[in-house]
Symmetry: C2
Amino acid sequence: MTGSAPEPDSLLGAIRGRDRKALARAITLVESTRAKDRERAEALLTRLLPFTGHALRIGISGAPGAGKSTFIEAFGEHVAGHGKRITVLAVDPSSRRSGGSILGDKTRMAALARNPAAFIRPTAAGTTAGGVARRTRETMLLAEAGGFDIVVVETVGVGQAETTVAEMVDLFLLLVSPGSGDDLQGIKRGAMELADLVVITKADGDLAQAAIRSLADYRAALSLMRPKHPGIAVEIRKTSAMTGEGIAEVWTAVQEIWVCLKGKGVLARLRREQARAWFWSEVRAVLADMLEADGAVGAQAAKLEAAVMAGKALPDVSARSLIRLFRGVDAKGAPP
Amino acid sequence: MTGSAPEPDSLLGAIRGRDRKALARAITLVESTRAKDRERAEALLTRLLPFTGHALRIGISGAPGAGKSTFIEAFGEHVAGHGKRITVLAVDPSSRRSGGSILGDKTRMAALARNPAAFIRPTAAGTTAGGVARRTRETMLLAEAGGFDIVVVETVGVGQAETTVAEMVDLFLLLVSPGSGDDLQGIKRGAMELADLVVITKADGDLAQAAIRSLADYRAALSLMRPKHPGIAVEIRKTSAMTGEGIAEVWTAVQEIWVCLKGKGVLARLRREQARAWFWSEVRAVLADMLEADGAVGAQAAKLEAAVMAGKALPDVSARSLIRLFRGVDAKGAPP
């Protein structure tokens, strides 16, 4: 396995044989926007699909400074100590360049990166219509085929990134640092609704008391909301990556929630729905790619969108005309 | 204006002349799924587009029993008393039959329905891919061309309906009835995040004390969240449709929020973004309609979706193959 352009079958074999370099190469292939690479990526993904789906998929988010990388390192070391192999994929919505993600910088989790049971990888936000993480789902499948038991997708609480990540995982952890009432106002509206588990970080030293208050505050806030899944309560834990407090408890809670989701058939349903949504979002993304590739149609799409946004054209009429043009049924404006 | 199939121009004239029967007929036309009717509806909508956009668009939601129709009646009478013409469109996600909506039953708001300044209309949820309210946006435009100053879109807090409605209005009112801590748990996660104004209903008689407590509880919950629009606080008011308490205050708050949104350019941006999202959602809906109309392609779409949901096919590969088939570029499986 040293060739720079291995055929899908040999690459698949290497990934399944837990060859980390092969996994890294496959992720680069999946992230490539070159048509030739995409074809090879799709061939590879199609072949490895039967070996995916077994991993526990966890989304982790929190505002900048919430202590995400410190927590993930402590959490990763803990689960690795319990014999689990863990992949961490960092999605940075602010990054548009492949590999240039600050959030995903490997050096942020230096200790965990050296652990043979862990694999850390920034994923490029990409510039395509699928936006953040169009390829992160596929990278998740690669990691699963590589025998990882846990796949963590990490993001910052900015824009749509949190929701996008929540829609590709089994359960979602919202990380918050302890703070006064004023600081709590910084929690993004909607972030709480995505969470299966709220994790208060930095519950040590000067912040130990604040963490206790935060625990009570968030518990009160959560009590005002319906649980995310009927009959499965949203949990809350306080942790310290420094003292190790709460890390084991988070792992236990995560496992309990997962078992609960599985037992009630919620997980199977959730994943089916995620796959359905992913399919239709890909239909739209592929459509957008093709519109972009087709100069004339793409220009018309941009013109129609601008007219609709300016209130000068109707969305329905414009959509119909775009689709007709796309199908080649209607070549309005072109000479016969 | 008595013909049963008036041409767009005369129908437009009648709508602009505030002919209520013409408005009702135009709404029926817009809701029709017959191809011929759709053509006429689009011609009408295109012509009346320049006369739309001036109205204050309000979304109102709340759990069943929150007192939506009672509140809307009191609110409608109040604004009508201040010289405003108001349309109420009720979107019932549970209804699939045109006109068969329970939520939109005209008799629910009997007094307001008799007010010459008010127009009440249930809107069919529809069975098309756009789902709830694909045509509600267009009905809103009809009402605006008909000279209404306020358009209320009402829905119940079920499924995606609330979010869909929030995405077509300028501001969103969440109605909640007073209750103990236990009752507050019934608030749907995510509903709070949509609200520009929380309205506590039934603040009278036996519930007067509970309403005061609820006011404090919701205020505390809201203080934990970022405002929906930076610099514009989410307001909360308690009301009684029986005593009239708070109704004028809600109207004042709604106007203040709207002025604030306009002043900061937020409203213009919001509506542009809503139009963009509507356009692309129509592209997808039209695509889905065409897939349904084209037996072979539609069957293939259903097959691909099922395979993706069962984890047997990749969303990206499946989306690409569907789009190719749709464009007629690729006729896989068909004899040459």
